[in-house]
């Protein structure tokens, strides 16, 4: 990978695991553990867009929520500018939270239906003690709205008066209003139509260039992820299976899961015939203890070793990381 060595690491995730306890339904039944994330480590460089792809239930949203401290990790650390987020306290903690913001998938449920757009945006600033007076916050809310392509006429509207694309713009404006450094976008465009999707994606890119933001972009749409990301992480059942540059992963996928995922994308033209790598069955349940490679039950290249050991992420040269015994 080019010039990653001299780029500044803004966030670093080390051996992050997140388990959820599933309460027993029957009396005396032992509790079960759902392993949403197991041993996830990666770095986020300043100013880049890191794409995270995976199917539903692979832990990508849990990862996003851990990054913005909505979940407390079971083990492992998340470093923001070389400091552990969960060991910070008081003003430092608040400062760190201000710098890492999130945009959620559903633009309908992430705005309070009883608050106007300007109130929702100004509230975020008030929480973080930005702006001298209510008037100044109002003015800054307007500036944020104008930055995302809305206008003064949209200031005093309620969420139901906006279309889906506009509502997502208000969400973006709210995140921008407190000048964060990192924005975690959890499927920000999947609830939108194709033509509106393209508008919002262009907006994301424009803001990034203007403000030198860092994005963590979570999605299951492989076309959009490729378009917007610099590097891509592919997740399966709570683990990273492959990590490389966006270009590289699409040209030369190594992990069998990545190959299957990429070959499942619908074709780009009616003339295109794609060779399909099929995976049998569905994603196994993340509940209970895991043994062996998470893909072992579905993988066409499964070996005896895959059922016994969990493969670790290994560098296959040029920073192309993959977790598969085929490449050892």
């Amino acid at each position: 990978m080019k010039n990653t060595k001299n780029r500044k690491v803004i966030m670093k995730v080390e051996h992050l695991s997140k388990d959820f306890v599933i309460h027993s339904k029957k009396l005396m039944e032992p509790k079960k553990m759902l392993h949403a994330l197991s041993d996830v480590s990666f770095e986020i460089y300043e100013g880049e867009t890191l794409g995270i792809i995976g199917e539903s239930g692979c832990g990508k949203s849990t990862l996003g929520r851990c990054l913005v401290q909505l979940h407390r990790p079971t083990s492992g650390t998340i470093l923001y500018e070389d400091r552990d987020l969960w060991s910070l306290s008081g003003t430092e903690h608040k400062e760190a939270r201000k710098n890492i913001q999130m945009i959620f998938q559903d633009p309908y449920s992430s705005l309070d239906p009883r608050k106007t757009a300007s109130y929702s945006i100004a509230e975020a600033m008030k929480v973080h003690n930005l702006g001298e007076s209510a008037r100044e916050r109002h003015q800054r809310a307007l500036e944020a709205l104008q930055e995302v392509g809305l206008d003064v006429q949209h200031m005093e509207r309620y969420p139901h008066e906006f279309s889906g694309g506009q509502r997502q713009r208000v969400n973006i404006a709210r995140a921008l209003s407190i000048s964060p450094k990192v924005i975690v976008c959890d499927e920000p465009v999947s609830a939108l139509d194709v033509s509106i999707q393209a508008q919002v994606i262009n907006l994301f890119r424009k803001i990034q260039q203007e403000r030198k933001l860092t994005y963590v972009f979570i999605s299951h749409d492989l076309g959009i992820i490729k378009y917007i990301s610099d590097r891509i992480i592919i997740m399966y059942l709570g683990r990273i299976v492959e990590m490389y540059t966006a270009e590289g992963i699409y040209q030369n996928p190594l992990h069998p899961y990545t190959k299957a995922l990429l070959s499942a994308i619908p074709p780009e033209s009616p003339f295109e015939k794609r060779e399909r790598v099929t995976l049998e069955g569905d994603i196994p349940s993340p509940i209970g203890e895991q043994k062996g490679c998470p893909l072992a039950g579905r993988c066409p290249n499964c070996m005896e070793r895959c059922r016994q050991e969990i493969p670790q992420l290994k560098d296959q040269g040029d920073g192309h990381l993959t977790a598969c015994f085929l490449y050892e």
Binding site: E55, S56, S163, G165, Q166, D193, V194, S195, I196, Q197, A198, Q199, I201, N202, R205, K206, H220, L222, G223, I224, K226, Y227, E247, Y250, A260, L261, S263, A264, I265, P266, P267, E268, S269, P270, F271, E272, R276, T278, L279, G281, D282, I283
Partner: protein
């Protein structure tokens, strides 16, 4: 088969919703024909009337507010708009089946899969419970569900989304329908599962020779599955052609915008995506001019004055655009170069 192989013919369909706030013209002039054993795709944004079109064919509209104002729907020589409720019940399920977007909500959560399938089969076929049970197991095997006998005893929540969608498809093919309407069948599913379900639909179509009406907003799915495709915008058919023609020579400016706004996997360009500016119109106010005029870069005065008719430009290729009606031709990408001084 009345001498031809057209299974479904829809002509000038207009479905309006009557509400206190006005008349919503959800479908305002849609025409297409579907041949036996072929697949047609309907693409469009949300609110463009794709789902209302399919519900109109199934006559599943809420009778108090929705009304089919104009047009005709002919299925296998029978006028569907004249059927009685009793005949309609027979039509739905026997001749025509529908697969909905969310597999989890189309099954009843409190009954076992087997119970629901047997109930459905016995509603349409006069057979014993035992026979219906066997037929259901057979159908589940047909759609590739492992341990079909065991799954008959499962509740919907015990199955994954992809499995539930397979159960729905199994229910649909039980009665050997001539037409399957699939309303966004894979939108709620993951990519790998989506590919499995689409392959299954295709395989079943080859085996049972049914026609499929596939409603989707994903053009990739259209390229993979469909023989012909209809593009809808704000309740109108804007373009209708066979899939390869539509891909190679799209004619309507909206289709161009739609094709351009998808990020391409093969290109590595990081240029800004081409977008269609603005948002779709309010469907209560449409019907006097071209619905796309406020977002179209090629707009001219005539577009604001009258509704463009659907014209057959080449055999089988229909376009509704004033500026693409055979005499006039637009060139994609050349925006208003010579018109500006005209105005």
């Amino acid at each position: 088969m009345n001498g031809n192989d057209v299974i479904l013919k829809v002509e000038g369909l207009k479905t309006y919703f009557y509400q206190a706030s006005g008349v919503t013209k959800a479908v305002d002039g849609v025409s297409f024909t579907l041949k036996q054993g072929s697949t047609m795709g309907i693409v469009g944004e949300s609110g463009s009337g794709k789902s209302v079109t399919s519900s109109s064919v199934m006559r599943l509209m809420p009778s108090k507010t929705a009304k089919i104002v104009e047009g005709s729907i002919t299925f296998d020589g029978v006028d569907l708009l004249k059927l009685s409720n009793k005949d309609l019940l027979k039509f739905r399920g026997d001749e025509c089946c529908m697969i909905f977007q969310n597999p989890m909500t189309s099954l009843d959560p409190v009954f076992k899969i087997g119970h629901q399938m047997v109930e459905m089969i016995r509603e349409h076929q006069n057979i014993s419970k035992k026979e219906a049970w066997d037929r259901a197991v057979e159908a589940l095997k047909l759609v590739g569900i492992p341990e079909a006998e065991k799954r008959m005893e499962a509740y919907p929540h015990e199955l994954s989304g992809g499995m539930c969608q397979r159960v729905i498809i199994a229910m649909a093919v039980c009665g050997h329908p001539k037409l399957i309407i699939a309303d966004e069948p894979t939108t709620a599913l993951d990519v790998t599962v989506q590919a499995q379900v689409l392959e299954l639909l295709k395989e079943l179509q080859d085996r049972l020779h049914t026609a499929i009406l596939l409603i989707t907003h994903n053009l990739g799915v259209v390229w993979q599955m469909c023989d012909t495709v209809m593009v809808m915008y704000a309740g109108n058919t804007v373009e209708y052609a066979d899939t390869k023609t539509l891909y190679q020579e799209p004619m309507h400016p909206y289709t161009w915008g739609l094709l351009d706004s998808m990020p391409k996997l093969s290109s590595s360009s990081k240029e800004a995506l081409t977008t269609i500016p603005g948002t779709p119109p309010d469907l209560r106010l449409t019907g006097r001019c071209c619905n796309f005029y406020n977002r179209c870069p090629y707009v001219k005065d005539i577009c604001r004055q009258s509704v463009p008719p659907l014209v057959e430009i080449k055999p089988g290729h229909f376009v509704a655009c004033h500026r693409q009606n055979g005499q006039n031709r637009l060139i994609r990408g050349e925006v208003n170069a010579h018109e500006e001084y005209e105005e």
